[in-house]
């Protein structure tokens, strides 16, 4: 097979001709714009709009439906005090979930939060009862403890390059073992007998207990206020600041973020420190609520917080970690469990219900939204 000269050179300018005939300007939306099968047909577009609304608002629509159903079945459900107790019940999970959300944003995953919260309960109790610190000092100490755990997690992950899941899983083990050592495996309450036989003389600081037990205007519990503050702060941080954009950029494309001149090492460290600190804040709230250092506290916190963060993917149809979604996810699960309890559903169905919600939310996030992209 041979080509003649005219064959070869006659087409010389062909590729460029199209270039000159192309009108510049951005109104000229090129053929690249993906044309969905639905556009172009008014009625179908309208339907797609509704579908999109239903998808992005699904969690809120379901939440509203649940509240109506529960209120109809059990009018006491809608009482302000019951709603507050729901929020109080989910506050710890929501605070921890917000921390997980930040680690998810940088493309990581913090499995140690449950253990951090549990060991923070022990640390707070130990600080007040054995070391006789006051409430203020205890809070600072425990928050610092959480931050240090986050720092160690970050060290393992960014310096030693241990994969996120493995590093934080190992940290989870380490902490749940560590919290047992100072008291030889005993729970901590006033009058604790230490391993060396002496009796601890401290007590819980009454001010500290207010964190878990006081309600503003006798309606809004402090833990709910803390949850709202955490939600607001982290929402602003992740969605409205430069650092938040870079945190998400790290999780979206770490190479690109580094090549854009950002320090992904520092950003990841920040995420794990935030997560560790929030987990210890969750621990403080638990300690202040129960008033003792229970070795078995915080059992299901990790799974609940992770579930809240993952349900959050479905909220607003974002399909990505987001703080408001996480809070909404935690509240959603809380409303469902509270309502079912009021309707006399047995306690042992709770995990099943949470699992079903998570499965549904993930199916909604990944399955139904697929047509969008």
């Amino acid at each position: 097979m041979t080509a003649t000269d005219s064959d070869i050179f006659g087409k010389e300018d062909a590729p460029y001709a199209s270039d000159q005939s192309r009108a510049p300007g951005r109104q000229d939306v090129g053929p690249e714009k993906p044309v969905t099968a639905l556009s172009g047909d008014g009625q179908v577009t309208w339907l797609a709009g509704v579908l999109g609304f239903v998808r992005s608002g699904a969690v809120f629509i379901l939440l509203a439906a649940l509240i109506m159903i529960f209120t109809t079945a059990q009018p006491a459900f809608i009482n302000l005090s019951n709603l507050m107790s729901i929020l109080q019940a989910v506050s710890v999970v929501a605070i921890l979930g917000a921390g997980v959300t930040v680690t998810l944003a940088v493309g990581g995953f913090d499995l140690s939060i449950g253990a951090v919260a549990a060991s923070s309960v022990m640390a707070a109790s130990y600080a007040m009862i054995v070391w006789r610190l006051n409430g203020f000092e205890t809070v600072l100490l425990v928050l610092a403890f959480g931050a240090v755990v986050g720092l160690v997690n970050a060290l393992l992950i960014v310096r030693l390059k241990v994969p996120d899941l493995l590093a934080t899983l190992a940290m989870m083990f380490l902490l749940s073992g560590l919290q047992l050592i100072p008291t030889a495996g005993r729970s901590i309450s006033a009058g604790l007998i230490l391993p060396d036989g002496t009796k601890a003389s401290g007590t819980y600081d009454p001010l500290f207990l207010l964190i878990g037990r006081y309600s503003l205007f006798a309606t809004v519990p402090v833990s709910v206020i803390l949850m709202a503050l955490v939600a607001l702060l982290l929402f602003v941080l992740t969605e409205r600041t430069r650092v938040g954009r870079l945190l998400f950029a790290t999780g979206g494309n770490e190479v690109a973020t580094r090549l854009a001149g950002a320090s992904t090492v520092r950003l990841k460290t920040l995420a794990y420190v935030i997560s560790g600190t929030l987990a210890s804040l969750g621990g403080i709230v638990i300690a202040a609520r129960v008033g003792r250092g229970d070795v078995s506290s915080g059992g299901s916190l990790l799974m609940d917080a992770v579930a809240a963060a993952l349900i959050g993917y479905a909220v607003l149809g974002l399909r990505r970690p987001n703080v408001l979604g996480t809070i909404a996810g935690a509240v959603f699960v809380g409303v469902l469990l509270n309502g079912l309890t009021m309707l006399n559903a047995p306690y042992y169905t709770q995990d099943f219900v949470k699992g079903a919600v998570l499965v549904g939310a993930l199916a909604l996030t990944y399955g139904l939204n697929r047509s969008n992209t």
Partner: protein
């Protein structure tokens, strides 16, 4: 009857006609070179022949039978096997060579469920005997040299009774002696009746082994050259113009030196070289994949250390340790493979055009840390106008854009703030011809900085640069003072 007959093959992606009626035939026992610039349709053709993509229309006949494979395995059964450029795709480290050779047999269940080590060795030995290679069967695949990995891929192809072997830039990562060994083997295989479709930019390779060359441009075969191949003519056919007329606007004035690299070695044992770039100058570095172009750019950008050498930027010593150092000093780089190096995934924060452009400039544009105000939107609007980016607006997702427009956005990112030296690694990857002209114009319109472009495509180098340098095996082997003197003979052997 030809071994392979391709007739009027067409394939479009959205509005881009990647293949626009390709016809060619390949006989048994011949080595056919396939030449063409990026975007000419070579890889689309290869993908269709190897069962990765389906054609929109047209026919392919293999040994007289109609052939339209739906998977690489199906293509292999019909006798067409492709060995890709990247040897990572052959097998993985941790497998022995014997395992790697038999990977297909494991996958297609031609081996029994339980296999003994000895059984595997025996079969692998038989496979090597067919190809006539000598490879260490018990070595870890990861420990092999690039050439040996390539041979494993070829041996596997032959062991699976290939009639047509498609080789995509097989010498890209080989040394000269390794290449010679490969050529010897290919020529011997040709005598056994095997047909080879050989894709390469290295004219020396093609001169050594090809029986004839086919040149593709714009999705069709535009030229065919029999041995002895006239490579000047072939390259002119490839770029669609005479080499002399391929110059863009004449620019003789050269500003002061912006960047100098002295006595540099990329690897401890690679040759040393100097490099000097002037303001307002566009310099292209060409050379095959793996020649060290990307490494040179990364070294200048601070993401990979130089083995030796000293850099000077604007008269001051410049020794960046991270990308951040380089950016602060006024050096910007749009790295190779924009998806991996520049873009956020779809439906993730920061995937809009505006956010893509603003990522490196957030600290400068939003000093208080809060993303209030529309600075990034305004910058994106400017870029859309200036570079003729086809988009519905500054907040449109980057994933709604074509490859060419995505690349324009990446260029806009690094042009949004003034820089002294702009490094562009393969800026025309997956960019259609129209967008390429826009990008070239944008690059060449700046006189305040030096621009260094790495491209493995000599045609692109000719189109965009004032000066072309050639890199081979991590050394700068040829530097032409001006583009007129550039001719394909200047390409390294």
């Amino acid at each position: 009857m030809p071994l392979l007959r391709v007739d009027q093959l067409r394939r479009s992606f959205a509005q881009t006609k990647a293949l626009n009626g390709v016809s060619l035939t390949i006989q048994r026992g011949e080595i056919v070179a396939l030449m063409g610039a990026n975007g000419a349709g070579k890889s689309t053709l290869v993908k269709i022949l190897s069962g990765v993509l389906a054609a929109d229309s047209g026919t392919v006949q293999m040994k007289g039978h109609s052939f339209s494979p739906r998977s690489p395995a199906e293509a292999a059964r019909a006798g067409i096997v492709t060995v890709h450029q990247s040897t990572d795709l052959v097998a993985a480290a941790g497998q022995t060579v014997a395992d790697a050779l038999l990977l297909n047999c494991f996958a297609n269940r031609s081996l029994p469920f339980f296999v003994s080590r000895a059984g595997i060795r025996k079969q692998a030995q038989a496979m090597l005997a067919i190809a006539g290679f000598d490879l260490p069967l018990d070595r870890d695949f990861g420990d092999l040299s690039a050439a040996d990995r390539q041979l494993v891929g070829i041996a596997r192809a032959l062991g699976n009774r290939a009639d047509l072997l498609i080789l995509d830039e097989p010498t890209a990562s080989l040394s000269a002696s390794e290449s010679d060994r490969l050529f010897e083997i290919l020529l011997r295989l040709r005598r056994t009746g095997l047909a080879i479709l050989y894709i390469s930019h290295r004219t020396a390779d093609l001169a050594a082994i090809a029986d004839r060359a086919l040149v593709m441009r714009g999705g069709v075969v535009v030229g065919a050259f029999a041995r002895p191949i006239d490579f000047d003519r072939a390259i002119e056919t490839m770029i669609g113009r005479s080499l002399e007329s391929a110059r863009p606007g004449e620019r003789t004035a050269r500003g002061e030196a912006v960047f100098t690299l002295r006595d540099a070695r990329l690897l401890p044992d690679s040759p040393a070289f100097d490099l000097s770039l002037h303001a307002g100058e566009v310099v292209a570095i060409t050379g095959v994949l793996g020649a060290g172009k990307s490494r040179l750019l990364s070294s200048i950008f601070g993401t990979q250390p130089l083995a030796q050498g000293e850099m000077v930027l604007d008269g001051r010593r410049y020794a960046p340790k991270t990308a951040a150092d380089a950016i602060v000093a006024g050096v910007a780089m749009a790295a190779e493979d924009r998806h991996r190096s520049s873009l956020m995934p779809p439906s993730w924060p920061g995937n809009s055009i505006a956010a893509t452009i603003s990522l490196p400039h957030l600290a400068r544009w939003y000093r208080h840390g809060f993303l209030f105000g529309d600075r990034e939107k305004r910058e994106a609007d400017k870029a859309i106008d200036r570079l003729h980016i086809k988009a519905s607006g500054p907040l449109a997702s980057i994933w709604t854009l074509s490859g060419g427009n995505q690349q324009k956005v990446v260029l806009a990112r690094w042009e949004a703030e003034p820089s002294r030296l702009l490094l562009l690694d393969e800026p025309f990857q997956g960019v259609d011809v129209g967008a390429r002209q826009d990008i070239i114009q944008a690059i060449r319109s700046r006189s305040d900085r030096a621009t260094l472009i790495a491209t493995s495509d000599p045609e692109e180098a000719i189109e965009v640069a004032d000066r072309i340098l050639v890199m081979d095996r991590h050394g700068l082997v040829a530097a032409t003072p001006d583009r007129l003197a550039f001719a394909p003979e200047g390409l390294p052997a």
